[in-house]
Symmetry: C2
Subunit: 263 residues, 2 copies
């Protein structure tokens, strides 16, 4: 009987290991180029997404806001600037998540902005061919974000939607930057380079980051060596979209990263 | 006690489900552009690869031959034209595999060649944005393949290696075509479009397919909606390779698909 209980315990451990998201793995629902082309119908529920990680970014069905997934909770930063916790049945047409487990914590100098943080992480992690999850926790002198509003069919391309994007400027605010650095070769699938979202400590403000300046904080990085992509096989618009086109110009317009002179 | 056994049985089922490769999933080790650039040092053992599928293609450590994985057995078609079953400790620098489970079987007309088979599959599976595993079993009037030979450091780029590739022409031979159709957006990561290898029924001949003509056969297709990529995090050459370059010209040279006039 003792042997039987050992076996049971072993099998339980194996099953438990399988039930938790794999480590060092980026999990992605659909592709960025499908989103750029206007495939906004959600395919994967927030509930399903949470099985693959506790940390990440994305958007929601009909492009209804920016997603921030932090500490296992999903926040929806809508175009009205407010933050909601969506019902877990809400679906996403595009999201990137992981089980965040920092490999390294880097101190951040006061006054650091987007470019300085990028350079800092690039210095510590020169391997451009892996994925990195990035979490910057701290107090910000200023942070500028945008959101996107829920669309109606026929959906316009993302480049058109962001022409009228609401932007939010926050001053003197605590919160967390959540995002990823992806390798260049995911062009067409995800965003090469940095893609960061923000959520305030009180979970009332956030969005897709355009620019920021840190007063005080730390940057944690999780190196990710495995990448899993799930395709929306049942979404007709996905199957009919030409994903062989080079949409890097559209992506640049959509990301709308701001240069220091624009701030 | 009865309840306990039910619980044990359930946990066993869960553990068993986790131990088998996930369905409808392409699993890939490293990227095609790293291989094009000469990253030939194997990172994943054949033993590990087999945990992710029973069907697939790839190459071996030092680029020592073409890989065919069929019915759970790995075959190594070396530059001498012979087929070996490698020790499972042998590593691969690039491979694409899946757990093959045909969704549809398509009859193939006698005399069909590469282009006709491509058109046939494209007709049955017009969704260009998913992955497809392709298995063509039959008797071939002719089939032309190539292999590659094991390289010494410093490794030359793949385009240089294939300039002197040994080619093999087989006539009146039974066997299986093993390969994939990948979406255009995996450019830089895998081979967009068709990439097929061959192994004869008696497992003595095979290689990377350049052209073929079928006498009689069937084509089975497995639709794959999930994609997992594992990166060789510990391979120094991988981390140092510029994977932002457009290597599609190199890939075209390396694939060496032959037009009807060249045959």
């Amino acid at each position: 009987m003792k042997r039987f209980f050992c076996l049971f315990f072993g099998v339980c451990l194996l099953a438990l290991g399988c039930a938790t998201p794999p480590r060092d793995t980026v999990f992605q629902a659909s592709t960025i180029d499908a989103l750029l082309a206007g495939v906004y119908d959600g395919d994967m529920s927030c509930r399903s997404l949470l099985k693959h990680g506790d940390f990440g970014i994305g958007t929601f069905d009909r492009l209804d806001g920016e997603m921030v997934l932090l500490d296992g909770r999903i926040y929806q930063v809508k175009a009205d600037g407010k933050v909601y916790e969506p019902d877990l049945s809400l679906k996403t047409p595009f999201a990137t998540v992981c089980q965040f487990d920092a490999d390294r914590t880097i101190p951040v100098k006061p006054g650091s902005d987007y470019e300085i943080i990028e350079k800092l992480i690039n210095k510590y992690f020169p391997n451009q061919n892996l994925f990195y999850a990035i979490r910057v926790t701290g107090h910000f002198m200023s942070i500028k974000t945008r959101s996107v509003s829920g669309q109606q069919k026929p959906y316009p391309p993302l480049r058109e939607v962001v022409r009228n994007q609401p932007e939010f400027v926050m001053k003197n605010i605590s919160g967390t930057i959540v995002g990823f650095r992806c390798p260049a070769y995911v062009k067409g699938i995800n965003v090469p380079g940095y893609h960061l979202h923000f959520i305030s400590s009180d979970r009332t403000q956030g969005g897709h980051i355009l620019s920021f300046k840190i007063e005080d904080g730390k940057c944690e990085v999780d190196v990710l060596t495995q990448y899993t992509l799930v395709l929306p096989e049942n979404t007709l618009e996905f199957s009919e979209t030409d994903l062989s086109k080079d949409r890097s110009g559209e992506l640049k317009d959509v990301e709308k990263r701001q240069t220091p002179n624009e701030r």
